[in-house]
């Protein structure tokens, strides 16, 4: 398959491309039918089940998708790029390549780089590097507070004008209630969302989930209360201020319940989680495996199930990879002092698709959490198959079984606990603005 399609990769103008025999999947419109999609330059020109009934367009490259799934390009709303500052762990280029391999056409960078993204100059730098890399689209958050110090607000207005899509202090929770109140309040001026890391820092000083496993291992625990305390406080502040609030990396039943209640109340709150929180539980820590150390920590089985249920019932709006690359030196340490984080760009889609394969969610619902969900939260234009929209597309083989092999990752870092984890669903092509940025069948590409 996909044999005639090689030239698009590096050419300036992607030209006209006809994708035929594709299973078109569009969570925004509910479309799930075999048909065709036609891109002209950087845009989607037409699509539909009977698109090419009258014959194929001339002067176009024809790509026979042979029944594979063609969905809007995935949007990953939580990625640590490590550039600038820690280029030995990841760069914009290596992360972009990993994203393309993972079917991700847009990634949103956390601002916890060095220097942090608390000034328009750093945003400008990122934008320039992304343009030079020219693989996937790179968006970024600004920090809520200067230098991630949790005290003074950054210039939300100017950062917004320079492209910040939201504000967050990354892995640092905004713990001062007055600062959080003002952040939620001030962000209303610009309609921006405040993304919170849901952990009370004082309670979250441990190394893993508090419970039997932590006790047996002799590791300091982080109680689930650390999460719900922060979320509930923020929801009260949200009620007080208005504004938009997003909880990143929801991991506990209690926090989910609080968010559910706030949503029913009509508050503007959304949340996401990462694949490891519905795929693994605290047992993955096993024998002090630092690759299973994340923040917030992997929880007990009941909480894992609660996250899965919240994905099924729609309480959780998005799935993000929470891509956190770390080199060996940051992970080959005693568990308590090892850096938290998992590389996730290249396993985001297959791990998410497990929800579908296990019968926990419909295919369109899973895709919604990777496309329209994040697009709506951050006000991004992509995430749907719409005529006139940017031709950001992911082509994947829904049922293809394979085993995750972090050593083969494009990411500079390989810190994944999913080695040999069996999954179904393989990315076969990634298209950004009409250009193919990943095609495993193209020898030049790898």
């Amino acid at each position: 398959m996909i044999s005639s399609a090689m030239k698009a990769v590096s050419s300036k103008n992607p030209g006209r491309v006809a994708y035929i025999n594709a299973r078109l999947l569009d969570p925004a419109s509910g479309l799930d039918e075999v048909g065709g999609l036609f891109t002209d330059g950087t845009k989607i020109a037409d699509l539909g089940p009977r698109l090419f009934n009258d014959g194929l367009p001339e002067d176009s490259q024809i790509i026979d998708c042979a029944g594979l799934c063609l969905s809007p390009g995935l949007i990953d709303m939580r990625v640590q790029l490590r550039e600038p500052g820690a280029e030995h762990k990841e760069t914009i280029e290596s992360a972009s390549r990993a994203a393309a391999y993972g079917g991700i056409t847009s990634m949103v960078a956390l601002p916890n780089t060095e220097p942090v993204i608390d000034d328009v100059a750093v945003l400008e730098f990122l934008a320039r590097r992304a343009r030079e890399t020219k693989l996937v689209k790179v968006y970024a958050y600004g920090t809520v507070t200067r230098g991630l110090k949790g005290r003074e607000l950054t210039e939300f207005g100017l950062l917004t004008e320079f492209g910040a899509v939201g504000f967050t202090d990354g892995l640092t929770a905004i713990s001062d209630s007055q600062v959080m109140r003002r952040a939620l309040s001030y962000s209303r001026t610009f309609g921006q969302v405040i993304v919170q890391h849901p952990e009370d820092p004082a309670l979250a000083s441990g190394a893993m989930n508090e419970g039997e496993v932590a006790t047996r291992l002799g590791l300091a625990g982080i109680p689930t209360a650390a999460e719900v305390i922060m979320v509930e406080r923020d929801l009260r502040l949200l009620e007080l201020t208005g504004g938009r609030y997003h909880v990143a990396n929801v991991t506990t039943a209690a926090a989910i319940e609080a968010i559910q209640k706030a949503k029913r109340q009509g508050l503007s709150v959304t949340c996401d989680t990462a694949p490891h929180y519905f795929t693994l539980n605290e047992n993955a820590v096993g024998d002090y495996r630092s690759f299973a150390k994340v923040s917030p920590p992997l929880r007990g089985e009941a909480d894992r199930q609660a996250v899965e249920n919240a994905l099924s019932d729609g309480t959780i709006d998005a799935i993000a990879s929470d891509h956190s690359p770390h080199d060996q030196d940051s992970k080959r340490l005693p568990f308590a002092i090892a850096e938290p984080g998992i590389v996730g760009l290249e396993s985001l889609l297959p791990l998410s698709l497990q929800l579908y394969h296990n019968g926990r969610a419909s295919l369109l619902d899973v895709l919604a959490k990777l496309t329209t969900g994040p697009a709506e939260i951050l006000g991004l234009s992509g995430g749907s198959l719409t005529v006139g929209a940017a031709a950001d597309l992911t082509l994947f083989d829904l049922d293809k079984p394979w085993q995750i092999n972090p050593d083969a990752f494009q990411s500079k870092s390989k810190n994944s606990p999913f080695t040999d984890h069996p999954v179904q669903g393989l990315v076969r092509r990634c298209i950004v603005d009409g250009r193919c940025v990943y095609d495993p069948d193209d020898k030049k590409e790898s």
Binding site: R151, F156, G157, R182, Y186, T189
Partner: protein, 333 residues
């Protein structure tokens, strides 16, 4: 000179103190503004001095730094012939509560006729007024009221536009900490103007709508169709990340410049209680635009309004001791 002072009731103003705009009626405000008009004329003449308050003692008691308000009151008192004493009490050197009252008792024992008090704490002037026998004028208390500022603003507008009724007035900036905003909201509301407040949400006090204003967080939206744009001063320490991230961001989104002013009526007038932060809340050029800016008029009206307030509040005293003085109870003329 106008004759309004003569037509009003001989006492004219039924309050012992002027602690705020809250509690005043439209008639009382009009009386004070009419009286102020007559003092504007006096202040523009060669001989600016009257003997209305001869023998009276006015104490400017300032617990907070001030140059223009204190000078304005001092000039007002002196032009009316009173003995004016300035007393500055550094707020850091006093403990609140008991010491404030001690100060009041001490001063009271010196038999002043009018105390003009400015204090950094809301409500402090009222507390002090309860402990003294003389008239008290609030020269600004915390974030609560600054009645003479609201009166001078009203006088400035009225002299330009004839009437306050029906005007659309936008008050922009640090509403949260502003006593000027609170007094103006009261006064303009009483006089039938439609008031809007415009500020970033961090500088809008909660339930501000309950004071009868419309609140906006976007300058262009809020300024639409406004007749008067009042800018407020933003304290530097409040724009370094706590309430507002930076000066440049504040000016970009909430500073008044030609571009944002386009949203207001073409003949909209600009006011500022001073002192201005040029390039923070207001574009420098705009502040100096004599066709649009009333800022200098405001300063002039300030002295007249304060003379009128001193006059009005001492009428009872003067009528009680009329046989001893030669004061013209009728007013300024």
């Amino acid at each position: 000179m106008t004759d309004t002072g003569h037509t009003a009731d001989i006492l004219g103003f039924a309050h012992r103190h002027l602690l705020g705009i809250d509690g005043l009626t439209a008639e009382q405000i009009t009386f004070l503004l009419d009286l102020s008009d007559s003092y504007v004329a006096l202040n523009r003449s060669d001989d600016k001095k009257t003997s209305l308050l001869r023998g009276r003692t006015v104490i400017n008691l300032f617990f907070e730094n001030s140059t223009r308000t204190r000078t304005s009151f001092e000039l007002a008192g002196k032009r009316l012939g009173a003995d004016v004493i300035n007393m500055s009490v550094s707020s850091s050197s006093i403990k609140k509560g008991e010491t404030l009252i001690d100060t009041a008792m001490t001063l009271n024992a010196m038999h002043p006729d009018v105390l003009i008090v400015r204090h950094p704490d809301s409500g402090a002037v009222k507390l002090l007024s309860e402990k003294v026998n003389c008239a008290v004028i609030n020269g600004g208390d915390g974030s609560h009221e600054h009645p003479t500022q609201a009166l001078l603003d009203a006088l400035t507008i009225r002299r330009r536009r004839g009437d306050l009724q029906g005007l659309r007035v936008a008050i922009c900036g640090d509403i949260l900490h502003s006593r000027v905003a609170r007094s103006n909201i009261q006064l303009l509301g009483i006089m039938g103007a439609r008031v809007r407040v415009i500020a970033p949400p961090t500088l809008l006090p909660s339930n501000i709508e309950r004071l009868g204003v419309e609140a906006f967080i976007d300058m262009r939206e809020g300024l639409k169709d406004c007749d008067i744009v009042m800018m407020l001063r933003l304290q530097t320490e409040r724009m370094q990340g706590s309430f507002v991230p930076s000066i440049r961001e504040y000016f970009r989104f909430f500073g008044l410049d030609h571009e944002k002013l386009q949203a207001a009526k073409p003949d909209a007038l600009i006011m500022h209680p001073g002192p201005m932060n040029r390039g923070v809340e207001i574009d420098s050029e705009l502040a100096d635009d004599i066709d649009r800016s009333l800022i200098r008029d405001q300063v002039e009206m300030g002295v007249a309004v304060r003379m009128a307030c001193l006059d009005a509040l001492t009428r009872t005293l003067r009528s009680n001791s009329q046989d001893r003085t030669s004061a013209q109870a009728g007013g300024a003329s």
